[in-house]
């Protein structure tokens, strides 16, 4: 389990941040029957307090512009989404491999939906998502991420543009 999350602040890319949050909302609603609400930056740390662990999906993208998208969900939320995605009983607890696969696919869908709109006619490529478990008390720079509530549970997004 990783004990910290290394995040770099990005320049003014508000349009992309908004677009990726919209993509997450659509994917959550359409694939997981889940609802997204904004969380104020100032309230994010308190909202996530007491969380045991995050599952963080990292998707590297390239094409018209390149970079990395990170999407983190509270682990109990990920387990809830697993049941919703596959129509399973919520009491069924998936193995780590299946859970990580699902969170990776969630991140993949968010990134792909966002880039489909943002790149329009231009081609882009996504690398296979990497998913890791991060301690709930890991230091997160809430100013550098977009905190969200997904079905009333903590989640966040981060974009980094570069190579």
């Amino acid at each position: 389990m990783t004990s910290s999350v290394n995040l770099r602040r990005v320049p003014d890319t508000a349009e992309h941040w908004d677009a990726v949050a919209v993509a997450l909302t659509e994917v959550a609603e359409n694939s997981f029957f889940a609802f997204v609400d904004p969380v104020e930056t100032e309230a994010a740390a308190e909202f996530a307090a007491g969380l045991e662990s995050w599952l963080v999906a990292t998707v590297v993208f390239s094409g018209a512009f390149g970079g990395t998208m990170k999407m983190a969900v509270a682990e109990p939320l990920a387990r809830e989404l697993f049941g919703a995605f596959l129509g399973l009983d919520p009491s069924e607890s998936p193995e780590d491999g299946a859970l990580f696969d699902l969170v990776g696919e969630f991140g993949n869908m968010v990134c792909g939906s966002w880039l489909t709109r943002s790149c329009q006619r231009r081609r882009f490529d996504l690398e296979h998502p990497v998913v890791e478990r991060v301690a709930g008390d890991a230091a997160i720079d809430w100013e550098a991420v977009r905190p969200l509530a997904l079905n009333g549970q903590p989640a966040w997004l981060h974009l980094e543009f570069g190579e």
Partner: protein, 137 residues
Amino acid sequence: MSGQASGAGAGRPLNILIVDDSAMMRMMIKRVTTLCGVPIGEIYEAGNGRDAIAMLEAHKVDALFTDINMPVMTGTELLRAIEQDGRWRDLLRVIISTDGSAARRAEADELHVRLYVEKPFRPEVMRDVLSELATSA
């Protein structure tokens, strides 16, 4: 007749091959497919294009549902291989991908992809896709 598209026709259930590197996505597509009311025969699965070709060689498959971004052999590479192999001329080809860009769609057209489904999709989209494939098989 192994290794050939079987041509469902006349209401015979469609045999389907689902190709996606996410086992959870394959499971979800499989579940939606079996719930949508269109007669389905066998459902085969593969995690990449190379394994998909092995499945096509071993089984009668009417319709292929493939992702694009996959390790080992991508969906685009798989579709090119199918295009170059006369055994699968009649195989109905559907892309299911998060990448819905115009560039990808144009590439899909060149590879005789019949339908293009963007992830995420609602279950009724898959029902419509299967209904269309069933009437044209």
